[in-house]
Each structure stands twice: as structure tokens, then as C-alpha cells.
Symmetry: C2
Subunit: 324 residues, 2 copies
């Protein structure tokens, strides 16, 4: 199968967002009047971002999900994406499953494939996603202020737990692993929450490198520091029963490290003034997304992890860095 037949068979679908559809030198996009276009790019490499044994349906989902998560963190509404794909060979069953996973998530968010590139080489998936946000309303990393609450959506650490089980470094019962694996392989971007937080959140970022690492970006760009409640943070590992089981199986230090520095979570970490705490909860309820308040912004730079009794914890929880 040639490059163009491959595109026709697996990736060409009706397009309404770009006047040209797929198949010219460029795609054309025009944000509505008063809107800015939010753009983000993520590249996924086999062996680093996913295992070679991953279900291609899940991989198609995840490749787009991590990009939609960036739009969510800006409060942007998904519009379109381009896909550049380097494939070692043309494997039709792989392409069929990958494209189905990709388009299932794209359709769920009304996000259209408008262009891209396909070539032969080591497996690499590079997606650039386009969203729109009213001019001046994008959620930024730079707006956190002294006294703001720090919130995070959903649960943290589950994806890393699954990865460590795959690596043979941790061991958990099958049900816990399956729940964690679902979070690793098919994260759900918090798009609805991002939209609901426009005008409420003072800053936002998505948690991809780990809570402390990504919080560090907010703190640095806002010129502030933070105090995090370690007991509340511990409660963020895994949702529901699996979490309760895991909490009895893993040492507290391990659980805290998974939550604080696990990465690959694709939850939203954001700040908002304490005075509008009710608005945050209303926004979370409106889109049925759990949100937990885990600490507060302080004038003093750096992060302070605090025990339930108010004493400071020591420790270093670096974020996942692709070149460390």
C-alpha cells in the first residue's frame, strides 16, 4: 500500500472546519471573530511514551488525548488537529485500530483531522492540535497569586503505578493494575473542566511531568511559592476501590512519590482565589469532574509539603524529565 492509499483508507474523512478538507499543501483554518487559536504539539515515541506492546486503539486515543489536555489547560475548545506519523511498516490491522482509537476520541470532542504527513521510519506520532478561546480568556501559567487555592482534578499517580508494574518494580493485584493501566493507556483529557474554568482559574497547567514539576512551572511563571497538604495529596492516588486497595499495599513514601512525581496524569492543576471556592466547585460539578483542593499559593518561593499536624516534610520529588 502506498502513502496516499494509506491516508485515503485510514485517515481521510469529511472535514467541515477547514475549507479545503485533507489533501492540499496546507489546511486552512479561521478562528471565529473575537477568538484566538490555541495551538499545541506533542510527539510520542515508542519505548519512551508507550510500550511496543500497547493496544494500537489505546495508542490512537492517547496520542490525541495528551494534546487535547494542553487545550484543556488553556481553556480552549478543540477544533482540529494534524497528524504526522512515522511507521516502520504498513500494518493494516495496526492502522485500523490506531485510527479507530484516534477518531473515537476526536469525535467525542468535535475535533477534526485537517492534515498531516506519513512516512516510513521508527514509530513516532506527532500531533498538533488547534482550539479556540475568546481573546484574553486563555488560562495561563502566570496568573497564580499569594493566597490562591491550589486545586487538581481527578486522581494522580495511577499511570505511573501501571508503568512501574510493567517495569517489574512494583506489584499490585490484578484489579488495581487494570484500573491503573486504563489511566496510563487511555487518559481522559479534562476539556469540559478547562472550558468551565475560564474566568475562574487564575492559572492552570496539565499534569504531564508530575504534580510538583508542573506546579513548579506555575510557581516560576507566577513568581510565587506553594504549600501542599501531603495527606490530601496521598488521597489522590487511584480513584475508588482500587485506590483503597493500593493504599494498603504500597508504602506511604511510594504512594506519595507516585502522586507528586508520577507524571502522565493529564489532570488539570489550577489555582483560583479562595474567595471564589464555591465557583470552582460549581464548575467541577457542572462537568461532573472531581476537583480536590490540595494547598495554597504563598508569597515565599519554593514548595513546602506539610503533614496533617502542620510540620514540614523533607524530600525531593523530581518530575519526569525526558533527558534525565
Amino acid at each position: 500500500m502506498g502513502e496516499f492509499e494509506l491516508i485515503d483508507r485510514y485517515f481521510k474523512r469529511p472535514v467541515t472546519r477547514s475549507p479545503l478538507g485533507i489533501g492540499d499543501d496546507c489546511a486552512l483554518l479561521a478562528p471565529a471573530p473575537g477568538m484566538q487559536l490555541a495551538v499545541s504539539t506533542d510527539m510520542l515515541v515508542e519505548g519512551r511514551h508507550f510500550l511496543s506492546t500497547v493496544d494500537p486503539f489505546a495508542l490512537g486515543h492517547k496520542a490525541l488525548a495528551v494534546n487535547l489536555s494542553d487545550l484543556a489547560a488553556c481553556g480552549a475548545k478543540p477544533l482540529a488537529f494534524s497528524l504526522a506519523l512515522s511507521l516502520p511498516r504498513v500494518d493494516e490491522s495496526w492502522l485500523d485500530a490506531f485510527s479507530r482509537g484516534l477518531f473515537a476520541l476526536a469525535d467525542a470532542h468535535g475535533c477534526e483531522l485537517v492534515g498531516g504527513d506519513t512516512t516510513q521510519g521508527p514509530l513516532n506520532i506527532c500531533i498538533t492540535v488547534f482550539g479556540e478561546v475568546p481573546t484574553g480568556q486563555a488560562l495561563l501559567r502566570s496568573g497564580a497569586r499569594d493566597g490562591d487555592d491550589i486545586h487538581v482534578s481527578g486522581s494522580l499517580g495511577d499511570a505511573r503505578l501501571a508503568l512501574e508494574v510493567f517495569r517489574g518494580r512494583l506489584s499490585v493485584p490484578g484489579e488495581v493494575f487494570e484500573a491503573a493501566r486504563q489511566r496510563l493507556e487511555q487518559p481522559q483529557p479534562r476539556v469540559a473542566l478547562g472550558l468551565a474554568l475560564r474566568g475562574i482559574a487564575s492559572s492552570a497547567i496539565d499534569v504531564s511531568d508530575g504534580l510538583l514539576g508542573d506546579l513548579g512551572h506555575i510557581l516560576q511563571q507566577s513568581g510565587v511559592g506553594a504549600r501542599i497538604d501531603s495527606q490530601t495529596a496521598l488521597g489522590l492516588l487511584a480513584a475508588g476501590e482500587a485506590g483503597a486497595m493500593a493504599s494498603g499495599l504500597l508504602a506511604q513514601e511510594t504512594r506519595l512519590e507516585l502522586v507528586l512525581a508520577g507524571g502522565d496524569d493529564y489532570e488539570l492543576l489550577f489555582t483560583a482565589p479562595a474567595s471564589i471556592r464555591a465557583n470552582v466547585q460549581a464548575a467541577a460539578s457542572a462537568c461532573a469532574t472531581p476537583v480536590t483542593r490540595i494547598g495554597r499559593i504563598e508569597r515565599e518561593t519554593g514548595v513546602r509539603l506539610v503533614r496533617a499536624d502542620g510540620t514540614l516534610m523533607q524530600g525531593r520529588y523530581p518530575s519526569f524529565d525526558h533527558f534525565k
Copy 2:
């Protein structure tokens, strides 16, 4: 060196086109009123699009050049780009040269880096480029009409000649090789010509897969056929003295194949009504870009290669396909 330090050192520069600069979850772009945003993505893989021995300065240039060429083919003015880079290791001298080559071309076209991604993995460079074009004025592949002239800019076949010398399949004197190698490694995107052809060209595409292959896209999307003058096409191989030398060294069939199916040329192939031939030449002169008329569009589908005496040539000159 960590991922963020790498970005800071080699890729973070002042940004004026995006209100956020580099370093938030998304870049924000807003085309001017009445403008559409033209978007294109190209992925370059080591061993397929470039040799591992290539000068990293030239590679930085080429990675952006092939994307700017897509904007040129749409008549779009370059604005910004995002860069996703997968690197086997952090090689500072490589990164220094690569980023210098990239930014030298970017600066020449007023095109700003607004975001991207960096990771570890097999060498892969994926650029998405953004340009703007007045609504409704983009040059498309679908507008060629019976009787239109077919034009091509610059020269064709040189890049493939250099590649075949690298592969040991052809042999030419050093001066010819150096001129051809320059075209392979540092193609010059025809941005000025693309802009000058707005309102003149009835269709356009950039020649990346080879003249006949890319002409095929125009013909298919326009529902027409074409007649190409093989003698004129032969004259397109290499510019100036090197071309004259090569023409005495390579068999005619080889030269014709290089011109018609060589690929990696990044010239503009376009059509325009014969009635405005003078406008085409004026546009070409205004941006000092040579343009050659190589044939005409016909109602009958398919491509007919014609000798100087008017007789038809037989032969099959497929375009380069990344999965054949």
C-alpha cells in the same frame, strides 16, 4: 542537560506573534481580520529524508524549508511554526548548529518559533508551520482548467542527482555534485513567488515527490490532463554551468527521470491561463525567481510527454512514494 534547559538554551527566543511566547500549554495565534490561517506539517526522519552525516546547520534549514514550501504553494505568508524534536542524545554542538540553521531561515522569512516538544528517541524532526492568506485567495490544487499553461520555478532533479551520487548510483564531477548537494541539503522555499502568484495562478503545488507525481495531484483534483514538453523539461536539470556539464555526462533518459520523478525539489508547479502569461512573467521577475513554461493543461485526463517534433514518448516515471 534537561529538557527545559535544552529548550531555554537553543530554542527559546523573543516571540511577538503569539501573546504568550514559548512556555505555556499552548501558543496563541490570531490571524489578522480577513485572513485565514494556512497550516502544514512535515516530518523528517533520519535515513529516509536525510543522511546521518548531514551538516546539522543544513538540516535545521531544510526541516523548516520543506514546510515553508507548503505555505508558498498556497500563497500564504509565513507567520510562525512549532517544532517537535526527538533526539537520540543531547549533543550540544549538533543542537547549536541545527538551531542556527533553523533560525537563519526562520528569520529570513519572519517566521517565529512559538511552541513544540522535545523528547528522547530516534532522530525525528516534525515542524508545523502557520501562515496567513486573505480569505478565498489561497492557491489550491483544484483550479487547473483546460488550456492553462503549466509553469515550474527554478530547476528540477538536482536534489535527486546528489542523492544518487551519495548512494553510488551516479557519478559526476565535484563541482556538479556540490551544486546539486546544495539543492538537496538547503532548498530555498519559493515563498515570494507564492505570494506574487495570488490572483494569477489557477492552481499550485510544491514539487516534493517529483514533477509528474505532484502534477498528478493537480490533475486529479482539477479533473483534467496535461501535455508536457520533454525538451523543455530536460533543460530544467541543474542551473547554470553545473547543469551544462551534467547534461554532457548523464544519459538523456537519466536526466529526464531526475527532472520528472526526482523529488525533493521544493519548486512551485503551477498553472495559469495562457491569456495572462505576461502577468506570470512579471510576478516571476518581481521576485527574481526563474519560471519556465513546460506544458499545458488539456481536457483529456492523463499526462502526455511530447518530443520536440510533437511525437509522444512512452515511459513510466513514478513519483517517490514513502511506502513503495
